[in-house]
């Protein structure tokens, strides 16, 4: 079981967390990660951010990521909720949730969801600064490296990686 959602309105954290908790009664471990909009970049103050996505491809990619991570870490459930449109400092941008029998799979699964999302899902951020300028955020190589660490040598032999062998 997995679920993904792209929403143009603010993410309701309390109801998302409560809903995921209620739906996963059998899980011994639940992890949530919330990515939040920063109000500064170095000395520059960011007043707003716009998040653009590729409708259709984006949802399909998020669904693939959620299912891939669920299967890989033997999760009971995985959820991705991502905001689009214009937002301001402090707003939640993304929420991922994992439910598993034990915490190690839940933590690792949440990290893998974020690493894959950041490198694969077609979203783009544009920052608007206090001085009236704006710029598209550049992709970071560190995000690519973070996603690569989930590609296990075992995969080339067709053997699924296990979290107790490869968790960071």
């Amino acid at each position: 079981m997995t679920a993904i959602r792209v929403c143009a309105t603010p993410i309701d954290l309390a109801s998302e967390i409560a809903d995921f908790f209620a739906r996963n009664e059998g899980a011994g471990a639940i992890v949530h990660f919330i990515g939040r909009m920063r109000g500064t970049d170095g000395d520059a103050r960011i007043v707003a951010m716009e998040l653009e996505h590729y409708p259709g491809m984006c949802e399909a990619e998020l669904a693939r990521i959620a299912e891939e991570v669920r299967a890989r870490f033997s999760l009971d459930d995985a959820r991705i909720v991502h905001r689009i449109g214009r937002m301001t400092a402090g707003d939640p941008i993304v929420l991922v949730a994992t439910a598993a029998r034990h915490r190690r799979e839940a933590f690792a699964g949440a990290e893998a969801l974020m690493d894959f999302l950041k490198t694969r899902a077609p979203f783009w951020k544009k920052e608007h600064f206090a001085d009236g300028t704006s710029r598209w955020v550049e992709a970071r190589e560190s995000d690519e490296r973070a996603a690569q660490r989930w590609v296990l040598p075992a995969e080339s032999t067709g053997v699924k990686g296990r979290v107790d062998e490869e968790a960071p």
Partner: protein, 91 residues
């Protein structure tokens, strides 16, 4: 997005590619010799200065054919939906 007519492709653009082009999509007749992603980008870049400018930094462009990421040798056919965008920055 509606289905392109026979012989046409639907192009969709995002982020700074869209801004530099001044449009989020366009429908173009596909020349017979444009049969791969690499050839398509070369052909598009030759249309006018807006296209040339938006598509200049090839190493910073990602292409998706029918909503799947596609490398330079990936085939391009009439009826395809082809997206051109920068590396993704969500999350």
């Amino acid at each position: 997005m509606t289905q392109a007519k026979t012989g046409e492709i639907e192009l969709v653009y995002f982020a700074w590619v869209r801004e530099r082009l001044g449009r989020d999509s366009e429908r173009l007749a596909l020349p017979g010799d444009v049969d791969s992603v690499a050839r398509l980008i070369d052909w598009l870049a030759a249309i006018d200065t807006d296209h040339a400018d938006a598509l200049a930094a090839r190493e910073r462009l990602v292409v998706a054919v029918n909503r799947e990421r596609a490398g330079p040798d990936h085939p391009v056919r009439a009826g395809d939906e082809i997206a051109v965008f920068p590396p993704v920055t969500g999350g």
